[in-house]
Amino acid sequence: MNQFVNNAQALRLHIPEPQCRPGDAPDFGALRLPPAGGLPRPGFTADESTLRHLPYALIRVLDDDDAAVGEWRPNLGLERLCEGLRAMMLTRAFDEAMQRAQRKGKASFFIKSTGEEAVAVAQAYALDARDMLFPSYRQQGLLIARGWPIEQMMCQILSNSGDQLKGRQLPTMYSAREAGVFSLSGNLGTQFPQAVGWAMASALRGDTRIAASWVGDGTTAEADFHHALTFASVYRAPVILNVVNNQWAISSFAGIAGGERATFAARAIGYGMAGLRVDGNDFLAVHAATQWAAERARANAGATLIELYTYRAAAHSTSDDPSAYRPREEAAQWPLGDPIERLKRHLIRCEAWSESRQQALQQEVDEQVRAALRQAESLGVIGDTRIERDSLFDDVYKTLPAHLQAQREQLRKEG
């Protein structure tokens, strides 16, 4: 006979909601931020079973007085830190200029990385220039940190005749083989398992180069995220898998991606993979965590999942208005501050920097961006891209098949 449960209570579904919505005062009181410097740094070949506290910890190096403290403090010279500051400021100036260019109708679309510059720049600095990067669309700082010409990036955004991608991609979907940066996709997370495949190939070949890839907190829900972790774990691929938890996936807060009950770094635990959670606005901490993961990968000790805890200070894109779904003042009150401001204060504290040098540098990067944009705009803007029409059919296949030759002929004749 069938068994039935009596007096069962009505079931309820939980629909996650962020703590604050427009009109509310921002409140980050529930955030538990451990002090900087308190977390021991394990050896990079440590067994994963000894690392399972790290996904719930937070690697922080810069303390409230702007000093670099603790075992995770990276061995970075002050000169290198000044370069990092410059790369972050150039990234921000670039973002501001391209946002304005989009508003003036010179580009169809743009994505800023404001507040997340340390993620890209410090991570690029912690990797070897020959390591292969599979970024998402908010890590333009990787290209800038690797010295890729910003004119080239601008031409891609303006989709003009100087764009080496021949005007084919949505603005910000860069590709820079020479800089070791893989072609960006507009589909979320697809590059994550591809990076694992690249790393597997590097290991199959006995190469020394590792791969790194980036997704946002929202994309951790995609199957590709889990494919990446499965394959990286199974084959111990030399790869660093980064989750940039900037709290927002367009209008959905991180809870909608499953961030309420566990950290994103903790996804690593189920895969038997090292997981680190790091203050993403702390240049030194980001560098340290990435360097640890890189050393681990190079030692054939496996992949690392890094959650970079940060805040998306800008809109998702030029098509988005975050005031419709979160308090306007939230970004300014992010308890982990601004990455540029924090590194600047640290350098001033170390007597390697000053407010006047900061102002001079600001003028310098602004002028560099202005000059580059003038140069890029001379090669066309959206609507007047000056892209060769015949190029429409190139690169679909390595060689042009007969049916595309026929279609090209038709375009030539009929327009």
């Binding site: 292969m132 599979f134 764009d163 080496q164 991608l165 021949k166 084919r168 991609q169 979907m173 590709s175 820079a176 083989r177 893989f182 072609s183 996709s185 589909n187 697809t190 994550f192 398992p193 591809q194 990076a195 694992v196 495949g197 690249w198 790393a199 597997m200 190939a201 590097s202 199959l204 070949r205 791969a211 199957a223 590709d224 889990h226 494919h227 990446a228 499965t230 394959f231 199974v234 190139d394 690169d395 679909v396 296949y397 390595k398 098949p401 007969a402 049916h403």
Partner: protein, 338 residues
Amino acid sequence: MPVMNMIQAINSALDVMLERDDDVVVFGEDVGYFGGVFRATAGLQQKYGRMRVFDTPIAEGGIVATAIGMGAYGLRPVTEIQFADYIYPAFDQLVSEAARLRYRSGGEFWAPLTVRAPCGGGIYGGPTHSQSPESLFTHVCGLKTVIPSTPYDAKGLLIAAIEDDDPVIFFEPKRLYNGPFDGHHDRPVTPWSKHAASEVPDGHYAIPLGKAAVVRPGSEVTVLAYGTMVHVALAAVHESGVDAEVIDLRTLMPLDIDGIAASVARTGRCVIVHEATRTSGFGAELMAVVQERCFWNLQAPIERVTGWDVPYPHALEWDYFPGPDRVAAALKRAMETS
């Protein structure tokens, strides 16, 4: 000359390419130590080692994604999707990534991967082990789609696919693995050894992608078929006594449009046969191409013989399957119309 069935021919192609090119790696579910559920990779891990031939997790999206990454690195991955019916989790990686990588990167990156997948029914596979999803891939610019019908072609086309620098979907009609099945499911199985195309050279040879083959010359009607349906069409032609020209397309994308048009222009009639469901099937594209190129030569409406627009059924699979009787009926209709 060695005699091979289609599985042995595919195994031989992989063997030749693993031997010739260090960049070739072969992987998929159960393909390593075990040699694949259909045995297509049998013995290859033992011969080339686990760094060249290996098992993967059950994650088709992950298999194709990692293959794309390996391809971008410079390897030449050959992956197996255990059944074509399982390819959908990899659809995004194939359509949005492999197919578009060269284009979207302005030619900076490409993914020279080959995705092998057994397709088609007739083995009591039911709805999830019998599908022919080729038209989902021929619709995607940037991909090439190949379907062989004999051991000789399977080896030559697979080698060409592996050597190709574009991503290739390589569908293997699993009902043809062991013999040239002509649709008469109630008759004894004919082995490949009695068929001329089972003579397969041991070494390297490639059959160019994009070239159809005339497998039976004829003057009265052109039959366009691929995979299992080539043999079904040949049986129907033989049984109906029509002097049909049977063309095995072999590659659906790129399609041998000139070869098709030349034949239909001569015969004036055309019957299209495929095992996949009808609506938006590849037959629709073939009808459009024939109409565009041969309208003034046509003496009868173009016929198409396909699977019905239903999921591939288990118990009633032979009622779904477009067998020789249905092909013969279409030939008759095409010949009756003046």
